[in-house]
Each structure stands twice: as structure tokens, then as C-alpha cells.
Symmetry: C2
Subunit: 374 residues, 2 copies
């Protein structure tokens, strides 16, 4: 059953974090309208941070929407892609802010996908020890995951998102129209994070995704609106209970421990983050099965859905000579690891997740099985 949602009506999901609370706005045609940003601070300067792919599509609209709010609206256009998510790119934001004499009331706007959001948020966290920022995610992945919850950061050659901050945005604006321009591969990558919310928190939602996967992949606005809203609701609930990832919040990383190893092992950018997470979820489900927490039917069900979302389910061989060792090595520097012990997000039972260690031998078996073509 399709949810009774009109795409012309903007939905609102509240993130409850005390004085750092904010709303996620989900709807059509939001970027170009001044009303979308009503209630936010009217500082002298607003700075839109975006990338060279998104700028031609939405920069002019956002600039127009903000022209009444700020005496001047500047922009910084970054190169596109995860491979640029490092300090040197971040530095170009700081250079621009300082050259333009931006003060600590300046509002930054992150217009783009997860990479732009993470870097803009981290720049906002650090510039003059913290300025406000707004997330305007233009990819599905950013709308349902990375723009919500205040995690910001950059990669280090030795690990993904290793340098960063918790810095909550003032508002998140999810314009569903922006998803129309998304390449198929990136759309699928976003679907991985939507699917994720099922196994960890809401099996009914997983069933709904299965029932409507065709409509979702065809980017039907009403179905997308529901999927984005439900994803944000679940994320809001988890983040509201554990802002700084001292426990519960880590369940949002289901599939990410294996996924990060794939991304790092292949070189950032070779696999999209969502692709690595899609494959990583199947691996984490297999590990859950190996530990007796779920049955094979659950693993197959999840795998089938990941395939239908256009995502890879066969893990890459990272090192022909010592593949499992390479995976384990990369997973040991995961932020969730403690004293070298990898802590996996496992499904136990379907609809609920928990953090557990696992023996290297069992994990190696899962890796070997996952690297074989179906």
C-alpha cells in the first residue's frame, strides 16, 4: 500500500537535541524558495559551498532564495567526489572565508551530496571555533543519511572520516526535485542507506520497500517522499537518543564496517559509499547468520533487495595473497573498534541491531564466501 502523501505538501521531521534541535524539511521545489529558509538567522554573509557538478544545477536558485536574507551571498565550488574529501579541499573553504572577511555569524550552506555536506559541516565546526550551517542535500544518500545527525569530517589516508566533529546544522532541506538529476549509480547508492533502516529498526518498512522497489527505482515522487521521511524519522529517533555515538547510534553503521574496508581497500571513490554499504550489509547479515542471530532466509531476502536496488553484492578481493587479513587490518582502524577489537553491527533479530565482536576465523569465512560470485 502506497502511503497517502501528496508531494506538493512539505513534510517536517523534528530532531530533538535540546538547544541543538532542528527540523528536516522534505518536499518538492524547496531550494529556490525564500520561504524554505524562513526563521533562520539573517547574518550579513551567507556562503554556499557546493561542487562543480551541482553548481550549474542549483547554485543560482539557492542564491536567489537567499538574496533577501544576507547582504552578500558568496560561494565556494569544490571539485566533485570522495577522493577530494581531505584537508586540502577543506582549506580552500577556509581561504575563501578569511579572504572575504567572514565573521563568526556567517551562515554556511552545504549544497550537494554527502561529501559536500561532511566537508561544509566540518568547516563550519572549525571556522572561528564554530559558525552555523544549513544542509541542502541534493543526493538521495545525503537526504536520508549523511545530512542528518551532525556528523561531519574528512578522510585521512589511513581511514575514512577519521578527522571530524559533531556539529548540528540549523536545518536540513531535502528537495525531492533534486533527485531527478541524480545519475542511476548514485541513486542506487542512496537506496542502500534507505534499505539499512529496515533490518536495524523497522521490518515493516523493509517490507514496504520490497513492495514498492519498482516505483522507488522509477523515482516516483510520492514513494520517494515516504521513503525519505521514514528514513529521516528513524535516524532522528536514534540520533536524538545518542547524539555523540556513545552506544545506540552505532547501529546506524550497519554494513559500514565491511563497507569502509571496501572503500579504503579499493581506494576512496572506486566504489561509491552506498555501493560499499550495500555489499557490506549483506556481509554483516552473513556474519549475523554465522553467529546464529538470523537465518539464511533473512540473508537471502536482504541480498535480493540489495540486488534489486542496483547495488553490488559480491565483495571485491582486496589482496589476492591475503584477502581476509587485508579486510581485518582495514576494519581494525574503524572508529567503532576498541583496543584493536572490531565491533560489528549485527542483526539480532531482524528489526533490531546490536554491537558485537567476532572471531577473526568466523569473519574470514564470511569474507571468503562474500567474495565469491553468487
Amino acid at each position: 500500500m502506497s502511503p497517502a502523501i501528496s508531494t506538493t505538501e512539505t513534510q517536517r521531521v523534528a530532531i530533538d537535541l535540546g538547544e541543538r534541535s532542528y527540523d528536516i524539511h522534505i518536499g518538492a521545489d524547496l531550494i529556490g524558495h525564500a520561504g524554505t529558509f524562513a526563521g533562520l538567522p539573517t547574518a550579513n554573509t551567507g556562503v554556499i559551498v557546493t561542487n562543480e557538478v551541482v553548481a550549474p544545477l542549483y547554485l543560482a536558485s539557492l542564491r536567489a532564495a537567499l538574496s533577501g536574507r544576507h547582504a552578500r551571498v558568496l560561494d565556494v565550488v569544490l571539485p566533485d567526489g570522495e577522493s577530494h574529501k581531505h584537508w586540502q579541499t577543506l582549506q580552500t573553504i577556509f581561504d575563501r572565508l578569511l579572504e572575504a572577511g567572514c565573521d563568526r555569524k556567517t551562515v554556511l550552506y552545504a549544497l550537494g551530496g554527502g561529501v559536500v555536506g561532511d566537508m561544509t559541516g566540518f568547516a563550519a565546526a572549525c571556522y572561528m571555533r564554530g559558525v552555523p550551517f544549513v544542509q541542502v542535500p541534493t543526493t538521495l544518500l545525503a537526504q536520508v543519511d549523511s545530512s542528518v545527525g551532525g556528523k561531519t569530517g574528512i578522510n585521512h589516508p589511513l581511514g575514512k572520516n577519521m578527522i571530524g566533529a559533531f556539529h548540528q546544522p540549523l536545518s536540513v532541506v531535502c528537495d525531492l526535485d533534486a533527485l531527478r538529476s541524480l545519475p542511476d549509480r548514485e541513486f542506487s547508492a542512496g537506496m542502500a542507506e534507505i534499505i539499512k533502516y529496515g533490518p536495524i529498526a523497522d521490518m515493516a518498512f523493509l517490507g514496504w520497500i520490497e513492495d514498492h522497489i519498482e516505483a522507488l527505482m522509477a523515482r516516483d515522487p510520492a514513494h520517494l517522499a515516504h521513503a525519505v521521511r521514514r528514513s529521516c524519522e528513524i535516524k532522528a529517533q536514534v540520533v536524538g537518543a545518542d547524539e555523540r555515538e556513545s552506544g545506540l547510534r552505532a547501529i546506524l553503521n550497519f554494513g559500514h564496517t565491511f563497507g569502509h574496508a571496501i572503500e579504503a581497500g579499493m581506494g576512496y571513490g572506486a566504489w561509491l559509499h552506498g555501493e560499499a554499504v550495500g555489499c557490506g550489509m549483506v556481509m554483516a547479515a552473513r556474519l549475523s547468520q554465522a553467529l546464529g542471530l538470523v537465518d539464511e532466509a533473512f540473508v537471502e531476502r536482504l541480498k535480493r533487495l540489495v540486488v534489486r536496488a542496483g547495488l553490488p553484492v559480491v565483495a571485491p578481493v582486496l589482496d589476492p595473497a591475503r584477502n581476509a587479513e587485508r579486510y581485518l587490518e582495514l576494519m581494525r582502524v574503524d572508529k567503532k573498534a576498541e583496543a584493536g577489537e572490531i565491533r560489528f553491527v549485527l542483526i539480532d533479530p531482524p528489526g533490531r541491531a546490536s554491537m558485537r565482536p567476532a572471531s577473526d576465523a568466523v569473519v574470514a569465512g564470511v569474507i571468503a564466501r562474500s567474495c565469491q560470485p553468487a
Copy 2:
């Protein structure tokens, strides 16, 4: 009258910041004793960050004191000086942490002066989005100012401390014995920050410093203990009322607006931070006088004390052709500026500070007067 303090007794000043509250410990012979760190978390790894000047003096002692708390104690030895307070040096800390597989429970220890403390604190704020750290300041300036209050950061070519975070330490350990090894010039630099607390908050303390300046400059332990404690008490009070510098806390920057212009204009490291603040306080006092907030006697009294503390009171000429313009230009990128308007910390009346703008013409007059030899 000398205060009734035995230097063998450790003093404790509490910083009240809710769940981020912590204590400052002030006493003799603290670094080398395990008991100093009792009550702090016992993580698998502790990492001492220090510099090449401090390492030969105190690294072995601190390492010994921590050996019972952490399964392994690593160290990172940075180059010495303000000119290294930038991203590249920070990166060497991240490299070391990641190469050693440090997890997010790792505790960092900042062993050194303000530069080491600011960089270690910022590294702790960003590593895996935040790990705990302990301040072990070994300079007078760091003990009475920079180690307390959670301001961390690095410099940018276009401005001092422009990139940073508020990240409170778990504890601050002020070992008065460490002050014995301090070069005279650095000791004087620390005196600037001690003197600062008088005009902005406590004229009785200013009187006490005047009465005991010889004993202080001779580094008499009992007098130093009192000066450090009273400074920390005032700072604790201000920071407790305004952790993130939304208002009141800015008064701690008395002398710093002019001081930052001197540091940036001369090139970081040419003048010590405390030297620039010493001279900057006299300039800010002159500006207060020019605006009718204090009388000339107050300016002369402050200037006399700054001279007795071994600090410069004649401001440097930053640009022979357009000196005032250069000062104003540099002050406009100060973090306290708003929409290009410089906000000065002024004394009004002695013992109380407030933030105000001032016309360029009046400021230019103060700069011209301050650059003339007495």
C-alpha cells in the same frame, strides 16, 4: 601581604561546566606522580604530545606517572614555536594516532606551552570526532590562561586561531616546578596574562601583583602559587558563565585585539603572544582613556606594571607608509569583529571590561601614540 599558601599543598580550582566540568590542580612536583592523574579514565593507550624543548625535561617523568594507567604510552614530539601551529604539524599527530591504531578511547596529554596545548586539544577534538585529553601546561602563560577553558585551534596564514574548536580537557595539571626551567622572556609573557585579570575583573588582585612583582619575577613559589590560582579562579568564573564566548567570555581577550595585529603583522613568533598582549593591553587602556572610560593615571599605572614584568610597551610599526591602516586591516579579521566592525575589549571602569566599537580615527590616534618611544 603574602597569601597564606604552602607550596607543598596542591590547590584545586573547579571549572563548572555541567557534564564537562573539571578541576585545575596547582602545586609542586605534580607531573611525575601517578596520583596526579587518579580518577581519569584508564584507556588502553595514552599519547603524550609535547615539543622538542619540553620533551628532554618532563617527558620521562610524565611517561612514568602514566605507565600504570595505560597498557601503552606513546609520544609525539612536535617542533617548538608558534610558527609551527598550523595544519601540517597537526597532521603529524593524526598520522601517529592512526599508524598506532589508536581508538576513540585513547587519552591525549598536552605537555608543554600554549602552542602544544592548543594543537593537542584541537587534535583531540577532531580525532574520530573527539577523544578525551588532559592539559599539562609547563609555561606560565599556559597555566594561567590557554590551558583553561577549552579553546583549542591552529593558525591560518590569514589569522591567528582561526581554525579550532571548543573542547574541554578532563583535567588541567599546573606543576609550579615546571616554571623554574622557563626562559625569562617566556616567564614575562605569562605575566602579561596574569596582569590582565586585574583590569578586567579584580583591581585588588592588580594591587597585589604590584606589591609583589619582585617576588613574582624572582619566581618565589608561594607567590606564584597564589598568582596562578587567582588567575585560574577568575578565568574559571568567566568561562563557567559563557563557555562558547557568546558574550562575557570575550573580556578575557583584553589586549588581544591589538596584540593579534602585532603578532600577525610582525609574523607569528617574532613577538611572543604574551609580549603582544602586554603591549596590546596598554594600547587598549589608551583607547579606553580616549573614549573617556578611564583616566590617564590608570593607563600609566598599567603601563608601569607591564614594564616591571619585563614586557614591551612600545608598539611596533607594521608598515611605515600606512601603519594605522595596516593595524586596522589586521584587526578587522579578529574573531570578535562583526561585519567588519572591530569590537574592542575596553576597561570601564577599572576592574570591569566591556566590548565596544571605536571610530577608525580614534583608534589610529592610539596606534600613533603607542608606536612612539615613551
